[in-house]
């Protein structure tokens, strides 16, 4: 059973003359433990795809299956719970709560899920420590650098032990060095922590850390490449691609 499966997924905005097709009948399967980057020019539908997979938006056609469950048919309440339990989100502008410190921000998803505050804080500290933020727990976002804030966001995303991490331009607001750190952290989430990561990015250097890149254009997938050259499957796909010339 695939971790993420998308069937004939479409998202259309507006109607008639002002109709915009953001996603056009997209099909995609992502297996557990893959680090997948989604790339493409502005307006290609990559963020829309991520939002639909994360249940942050509803499709106008087709379905999204998370570990076999069709989320497009779920009620808001069920979807919210699934999102809180199975998914972690990382955004370009960090989206931390300014009045909460690092530990409080990180612990928030657990608190919202009814976990006891002491346990939530303890788990939050563990994740902050893993992301090299020891001693920063009591700092608020405005007392942290961009890279540090994003690492708090990643800690928050991981604290509820999700199956999938969805990242939307996680390095878009960071300098070169911090971007690399975040990419390495996301890589570790897959390699060491065995989660599935789906990341929208326009930065090739960051995409290079992934296992697979999906290229979107005008709402459709135009290419799907495995990055590990030693893979026999990849060689077969490359051959098919060359033959399609």
């Amino acid at each position: 059973m695939a971790t993420i499966e998308v069937k004939n997924l479409s998202k259309v905005y507006g109607s008639g003359e002002t109709k915009v097709t953001a996603l056009d009948s997209v099909n995609l399967i992502i297996e557990q433990g893959q680090f997948v980057a989604v790339m493409g020019p502005s307006g290609c539908g990559k963020s829309t795809l991520l939002h639909l997979i994360g249940g942050l938006d509803r499709p106008t056609g087709g379905s999204v299956f998370i570990e076999g469950s069709d989320i497009s048919k779920m009620s808001d309440t069920t979807l919210t719970e699934l999102r809180r339990r199975k998914m972690g989100f990382v955004f370009q502008f960090f989206n931390l709560i300014p009045v909460l410190d690092a530990i409080e921000n990180t612990a928030l998803p657990l608190i919202l899920d009814g976990i006891k505050p002491e346990i939530a804080r303890s788990k939050a500290s563990e994740w902050l420590s893993r992301n090299k933020l020891d001693g920063r727990g009591n700092h608020r976002p405005d007392e942290l650098s961009g890279g540090q804030q994003q690492r708090v966001a990643i800690s928050r995303a991981m604290v509820s032990d999700p199956v999938i991490i969805l990242a939307d331009e996680p390095t878009g607001n960071l300098d070169s060095r911090s971007s690399d750190e975040i990419a390495v952290t996301l890589r570790k989430i897959v390699t060491d922590w065995k989660r599935t990561v789906l990341m929208v990015t326009h930065d090739p250097r960051i995409a290079a850390y992934a296992d697979r890149i999906i290229f979107l254009k005008d709402g459709k997938i135009v290419d799907d490449t495995l990055l590990n050259g030693s893979n026999g499957e990849n060689a077969k796909r490359l051959k098919e691609k060359v033959e399609s010339l």
């Binding site: 020019p41 390495v184 090739p204 250097r205 995409a207 290079a208 850390y209 992934a210 890149i213 290229f215 135009v222 290419d223 490449t225 990055l227 590990n228 050259g229 990849n234 490359l238 691609k241 060359v242 399609s244 010339l245």
Partner: protein
């Protein structure tokens, strides 16, 4: 060209045996994976430098590997001139550009697919370099890491260019193909009365 100057550089430090120069060159470029120059090529280059008076060779038993090479004042001048030159690479000789231009002329090849395939290949290479860089030790191998960074940056530039040409491919196709400039041959046509 640079191989000869790298050898002069190694000899400017001290005289060396042939096999030392081979090993020294490989270490300097960061390993055979980066730049593989085989011993016969090194020995041929050294022999030419001896002929040109840039280097002297003192062989105990005739074998190039076991003889000692030393730099001459002339060789030292050559080395210093090389340091003073700047190095600009040749970006205009691009096999992919050739392929793309030809594909626009041939119906049986789809230029857009070419770009998609090239992009995938560039990403695979960028991934390989990224992984390789992760295995290096910043305390001891910083120089090699910076070389990997250079490769990564060049690949990023190639990818950016690919995006650019992809977005303007239609425009390029609409313009007339480059016509070879042929000079008229033979006698000019006679003017009939």
């Amino acid at each position: 060209m640079s191989v000869r100057h790298a050898l002069l550089g190694l000899l400017a430090q001290k005289p060396r045996y042939g096999y030392e120069l081979c090993a020294g060159f490989t270490a300097l470029v960061g390993g055979k994976e980066n730049w593989d120059v085989k011993p016969p090529q090194i020995y041929t280059t050294l022999a030419r430098m001896v002929d040109s008076g840039l280097v002297t060779f003192n062989n105990a038993n005739g074998q190039q590997s076991k003889g000692e090479y030393a730099i001459t004042p002339s060789g030292h001048d050559e080395l210093m001139n090389w340091f003073r030159m700047s190095n600009i690479e040749e970006p205009h000789q691009d096999p992919f550009y050739l392929k793309l231009m030809l594909s626009l002329e041939l119906d049986e090849v789809d230029a857009s697919r070419l770009i998609v395939i090239q992009r995938a290949a560039l990403y695979q290479e960028l991934h390989r370099i990224t992984e390789q860089r992760q295995t290096l030790d910043p305390q001891n191998q910083l120089a090699q890491m910076l070389l990997m960074d250079k490769s990564a940056m060049h690949l990023e530039a190639d990818l950016r260019w690919l995006d650019m040409i992809e977005s303007r491919l239609d425009e390029v196709q609409r313009q007339p193909a480059p016509k070879p400039a042929l000079r008229p041959r033979g006698r000019p046509p006679s003017q009939s009365a």
